[in-house]
Symmetry: C2
Subunit: 469 residues, 2 copies
C-alpha cells in the first residue's frame, strides 16, 4: 500500500464519518423492485462461494498464489522479477481459459538498493540496522559521520534552533498513532529536516509493533530542497537514541547508503470477462502486482492482486457472464506512487464514464469483513443491500477515499470499494522482511476470493448502474 | 534463559502436575501459630511495597536498570562489556550503601561471532538471514555450498535414508509447540544431523511468532561427533524452503560462518544483607548478568538480575534486616550453560545445608503473577500462605525444576521459586535483536521488584526454616 497519497488523503478525510456496521437503512429508500432483484442473487452468490470454498477452485487459486509468491519473491517496480511475474500472470490467465488479457506499457522509476550500513560510534560502538526509503539519494562513498539529534515531531523540528540541526543526522521518533497520521515523518521528514540543514534523516519505522523490524516505503523530496539520504530504523534503536539523548549523551553515527536510480518500462495487466449485454460498461477489480524489495510482497499486495485476478477467471470457468464487463487490473508500480494507475487513467480517460464501479484489495487478505465504500448515499444504499447477501461478511465502512490506486478514480466521481478485513496486524509486516506467505492463511484468502468474486458478479450484473454523485 | 538444561528437565518433568492458582489449602495443615506469624507480616510487606512503588525507590531502580542496559548493551559471556557491567553493579551496590559485595572468579568459554552470511542459489538467488548458535564451529573460509533437505523432526531424520542426508545442509523446521519441547532441534540438531552425514544445519528459530526474526541460543555437540556449523534461520525462510521442497524444487544454499572460541575469566557477583539472628542461613535471590550477543539482554536477564540485586539493597536502605542473610547473586555465564551457577555451587558446596530457599527471576519481568515453586508439600504450603500477603500476586505453579540456574540447587533438595509473570510473549523476543528495553514496562518491572523484595524479606525473616523433602 502506497502511503504518500494516503497520508495526504488522510489529512483531507480525517473529519469524515466512519461507520463500521451495516448501513443505516432508514437513510435508504431503495425501490422494492431493486431490493427484490438484489435478493434474487442469493442462489448464484451461494453457488459461486460454494464452488470456490468447497469445490476445489479456491484451493487451486491459493496454490497458484503461493507458488507465484515463492517463485518470484519481492517484485520491486523496475526489477526483472516484476516483469517475469507479470508474464507469469498473463500466461496463468490463458492457462485458465481466459484469453482476453493484455498489457499496457508504463514508464516507471527504478530505485535500486545497493548497499546500506550504519553504526553508532558514540557513546559506544553499536551496529544500527537501517533500510533506505524509496527514492533516497546515496551518501558520499566515504559515508556520512555526524552527530545525531532526536526529534519527536515536525512541530519540535520547527521550534528547534537551526544551529542545533545544521550538519546533524535528524532521528525522527514519532510514536505510532495511526499509519495515516504517522507516515508523514517517513514521507516528508527528509525534506523538512534538510530545509533546516540536516545532512541525513533516520525515521522510526512506521509500525505499531516491532521485533527489531525495519519498514521501508515511499518518500518524496519537496521541490528545491537539498536531497539528503533517508532511511528507516527500528523502534528499538530510535528509542535507544532517545534514551541516550535524555541521559545527555552525545550520539555520533556513521551511515553508508548507496542506491541507483533509472527508468524502466513496466506493464499494467488487464483481464476482461466481456459483459453479455453492455460490454462497454465496466466493473473494475484490482490489486497491484509490484511490491517493495523486502520480504515477498505476499500481503502487500500479492493477496489482493491474486483475488482480483481470480474474479474474471473463476466467473469464466463457472460460465457466469454478467451484463457488464468485469475487468481485472493488476496495477504496476503502485509502491513508487500509483504510477501504473495514473498511466492507465491517462490512457483510458475517455472511458471513465463507463466505469460503473471500481474495487481494490490492498490492505490485506485476512478474514473478510465487508467493504470500505466511497460514493453517493444512493450508491452506498445499493452496496449495503448487496452486502446482505454475504452475511456475516456485511460490514460497511464509509470513506471519502478508500484504497490506494483506486483513489485516482474515486476523485473522478467513480464509486468504489476496497476490501475490509481483519487486518489489525497489517502494519506489523507492511513493507518489511516479514511480508511473506507466513502471514497468510489459506482459509481466509479463499474466503476473501469467494466474497470478492461473488460480490463483483452481482454489481456487474445488476439491471441498474451504481449511481454517481 | 539457558535452554539445554531446560530441555532435558522438560523431558524429566513433562508429567509433573502444574497448578496455576492458589495452593489447595485442604492439603495443608499449617500450624495456626505459623499462619498467624505469616499474616503478621502484612504491615511490613505493605510498607516495603509502598516505598518501592510510590516512594520513589522503584523509579530510581528502573532508571538505574535502563541506564545499565543502555550503557553496556549485550553482555556476552567472555566479553569486555560483561566485565564492565559486573564492575558497574559492584559499584552501584556500594553507592547504594551496601558494602558487603564480592565477586568470585569463574573460568568460562568465550564463543565470539565474527561473520555470518547465507544465500540461496537455487531455485533462485535470495539472501537468507542466519544467526549462528552458541559454540557453532566455523565453515571453511570458502564457505559451504550444498543442497538443502528440509526435515520436520528427529523421527523423520532417523527414517530418512543416509544417502539423502549425506553432504547436505539439513534444515530443521519443527513447528513451535512449546519452548521445552521444540528447543531440542536447536540444542541437539547439529549432532543428530552430523551423525547421518550432514555438512551443516539450519534450524527454524525457536519462537511462536516471527517478523523475520532470528533467535540464537546454546547448542551442544555430542561426544565423538563431527562438529558441523549450525545456525538459526527465520520461520519465514524455513517455511519457504519447506514449500519449495514440496514443489519439487532443488534448493542449493551457500553459507559462510566464522567464530572464535577461547576461554576467559568472568565473575559471579555476591551481595549480602547479613541476617540479624542466623547470618549463616541464607535466602538466595538471583538472576544472570550475562546475555546473548544480540539485542540488549534487557529481558533475558537484565530485568531478573536487577530486581534480585535490588532486594538486599532496598531492604538495607529501609533498615529492614531479616533473621537470615539475604544473598543476591548475579550469575555470570548462564547462557553458555549455567557455568557461573555451577562454579558457585562447587565452591560453596559445604554451605548448601544453610540455603533455606533459593529464588530466581529469568523468565521475564512483565506484570507479576506469583511464583513457580519447587519443594516439599510443607514448603509449598508455607509459600502459599506467604503469597496470601500479596494478593492478587498470589498465583502458585508447581514445577520439579522451575528456573534455570537454580535448577542445580533444587537438584540438591533445596526448595526454591522462580517469578511467575505475564510472559506470554517472552519467546517472541528471547535471544533475539528484539530483547531490548522496548519490551519492558516501568510499572511492571517496579511491581516485580516490590513483590520480589517483600516476599524475600518474609521468607528470610520467618521464625521457621522452609522445610526440605
Amino acid at each position: 500500500m502506497y502511503s504518500i497519497v494516503l497520508q495526504i488523503l488522510f489529512l483531507i478525510s480525517i473529519n469524515c464519518t466512519v461507520i463500521i456496521n451495516s448501513y443505516p437503512e432508514n437513510e435508504c429508500n431503495l425501490d422494492n423492485k431493486l431490493v427484490d432483484e438484489i435478493q434474487s442473487y442469493k442462489n448464484v452468490t451461494k453457488q459461486i462461494i460454494d464452488k470456490i470454498v468447497s469445490g476445489g477452485f479456491g484451493t487451486k487459486m491459493y496454490e497458484d498464489y503461493s507458488k507465484f509468491i515463492d517463485t518470484f519473491g519481492a517484485r520491486l517496480a523496475g526489477s526483472k522479477a516484476l516483469e517475469k511475474a507479470i508474464d507469469h500472470m498473463v500466461n496463468l490467465t490463458r492457462q485458465n481459459g481466459l484469453n482476453d488479457v493484455t498489457t499496457e506499457e508504463v514508464d516507471i522509476p527504478y530505485w535500486q538498493r545497493i548497499y546500506e550500513s550504519a553504526n553508532m560510534f558514540e557513546p559506544y560502538l553499536k551496529k544500527i540496522s537501517i533500510l533506505g526509503l524509496g527514492t533516497s539519494v546515496s551518501t558520499p562513498a566515504e559515508g556520512i559521520k555526524a552527530e545525531a539529534i532526536v526529534i519527536k515531531s515536525f512541530d519540535e523540528l520547527e521550534k528547534t534552533d537551526e544551529n542545533k540541526i545544521k550538519g546533524k543526522i535528524v532521528v525522527f521518533d514519532p510514536p505510532f498513532v495511526s499509519y495515516g497520521e504517522t507516515v508523514v515523518y517517513r514521507s516528508l521528514g527528509a525534506s523538512k529536516a534538510s530545509r533546516k540543514g540536516a545532512v541525513a534523516t533516520l525515521v522510526r519505522s512506521i509500525t505499531p509493533f516491532s521485533i527489531y523490524s525495519l519498514h521501508t516505503g515511499a518518500q518524496d523530496y519537496e521541490n528545491n530542497v537539498t536531497k539528503i539520504p533517508t532511511a528507516a530504523i527500528t523502534h528499538e534503536d530510535a528509542d535507544l537514541f532517545r534514551r541516550l539523548q535524555n541521559l545527555g549523551e552525545k550520539i555520533v553515527l556513521k551511515i553508508h547508503m548507496s542506491y541507483a536510480m533509472s527508468r524502466k518500462i513496466s506493464r499494467n495487466t488487464i483481464i476482461d470477462l466481456k459483459g453479455k449485454e453492455s460490454p462497454e460498461k465496466q466493473v473494475i477489480v484490482s490489486g497491484h502486482i509490484d511490491s517493495w524489495d523486502v520480504g515477498q510482497g505476499a500481503m502487500d499486495d500479492g493477496g489482493g492482486m491474486m483475488i482480483s485476478w481470480f474474479v474474471p477467471v473463476i466467473l469464466n470457468i463457472l460460465k457466469l457472464k454478467p451484463r457488464r464487463t468485469i475487468r481485472a487490473i493488476l496495477w504496476t508500480a503502485e509502491e513508487p506512487g500509483l504510477i501504473g494507475a495514473e498511466a492507465y487513467l491517462t490512457k483510458h480517460i475517455n472511458e471513465t464514464s463507463n466505469i460503473n464501479f471500481i474495487m481494490e484489495s490492498d490492505e490485506g487478505t485476512f478474514k473478510p469483513l465487508g467493504l470500505d465504500v466511497a460514493g453517493s448515499t444512493n450508491a452506498r444504499c445499493i452496496i449495503a443491500e448487496v452486502l446482505k447477501l454475504f452475511t456475516p461478511i456485511d460490514k460497511m465502512k464509509e470513506s471519502e477515499y478508500p484504497g490506494s490506486d483506486m483513489t485516482l478514480f474515486v476523485q473522478k466521481g467513480i464509486p468504489g470499494a476496497s476490501l475490509l478485513n481483519e487486518n489489525e496486524r497489517y502494519f506489523w509486516f507492511h513493507h518489511s522482511e516479514g511480508d511473506t506467505m507466513n502471514v497468510q492463511n489459506q482459509e481466509d484468502v479463499v474466503a476473501c476470493a469467494a466474497f470478492w468474486a461473488a460480490f463483483s458478479y452481482v454489481i456487474a450484473d445488476l439491471s441498474q448502474d451504481i449511481p454517481r454523485q
